[in-house]
Symmetry: C2
Subunit: 252 residues, 2 copies
Amino acid sequence: MNTIDTILNHRSIRKYKPDPVPENVLNDMLNAGIRASNTGNMQVYSMIVTRDEALRKQLCGFHFGQKMVEQAPVHITFCADINRFNKWCRMRKAEPGYDNLLWFVNAAIDALLASQNVCVAAEAHGLGICYLGTATYNADKIIELLDIPHGVIPVAAIVAGYPDDNPPLTDRLPMEAVVHYEKYQDYSNEAISALYAERESQEFTKNLLIENNVETLAQVFTERRYATKDNVFFSEKYLGLLKKQGFLNHGE
Amino acid sequence: MNTIDTILNHRSIRKYKPDPVPENVLNDMLNAGIRASNTGNMQVYSMIVTRDEALRKQLCGFHFGQKMVEQAPVHITFCADINRFNKWCRMRKAEPGYDNLLWFVNAAIDALLASQNVCVAAEAHGLGICYLGTATYNADKIIELLDIPHGVIPVAAIVAGYPDDNPPLTDRLPMEAVVHYEKYQDYSNEAISALYAERESQEFTKNLLIENNVETLAQVFTERRYATKDNVFFSEKYLGLLKKQGFLNHGE
């Protein structure tokens, strides 16, 4: 399959066959990650490949018990990582000043560009993948389980394996919802209604409202899936972790 | 070219031909971005495509005057964006609680996975791309120039166009520098020296030391390219901007 088709055919896979990912396929994925653009060619990220079943069972718990995490043979944690670079600097008479927000952002960018390349390469090999947003929610527990040192923090995780499911493409808002030309064109109320009209009118949405016992699709998000008190809780937890892992100091 | 080869052949392009990017190619790139995984299918990101020459000249200044920004026909700013989603919620009797760090991180993830898909699709079409790390450095100026509203903040920018240069692949550290199996394996001093040995011994590196008048390659980074005082300055600036744009409140 050509590159554009590989990308356009992406669907997140949530059911996996037990078949392992062959070594050469995994290497292709990791190499694809490594070839992504990165900040100043400093490669301030790391990828932790976890295949051990006992570890994956524990990771599954941290990802809110989503079954696919136990099922998929490969779990990869993508981390912002200034640890290796700092160690090298200190061995070479250079005092690193990367323990601050700018370098969390730079290192997170590195980790995420690599992760997306890994995913696209995996799909080119016929694998399925799914991102786990929970990687940041419970980053503290992942850090403990995977011996992640100071200077390193998880920003994303994926599972990968052979799909045991063939879901349809997920719908997306019309392109004009996320694309702006020349400058940002802010949305009128009419524009917002038009952008969400199709999604709001779907049968699937009507069922969601009944299941969730809410009046609007937006309330499914604000009251059920991503409620304020959870957002605040996990924000404070991740902020604390950024401090603890050494990304919010000021270089002294 | 197949997907893996497209990805493995990536090089950042810093010289561009003046030829415009055809509409259908740009649409393929943007569609590729839209198909990337995103948080809860909320699509909390936006892509601002700037082709106007006068705007690109101003953007060039914000990107430290790098000539390629004026030269390349397309500049895309990738933003974390809770503005659209918030507007929709408020019109639908739903009170959004996304003005916090967790949702900056989620929205930045969305923006960056989309950006990498855009880049891979661009390269599949024979275009060159280059990420501009300076997008976060001068995000405040980009916000002003591109009318970016509250709830939106740039996290990355790229230029794209037809390459007027054919640079060699950039070197990378050996795979074991960034890949860990099962758990994170922290680095001994010997391991660090081994990982950086090849890079440190290159002729290119020796010239760099002379040019920069420093003793070690690490000092090129800590004293010349990314010095502590600059890191601290841009960290504080971006932190202030996160507050101003509404990503560090707590749910109210």
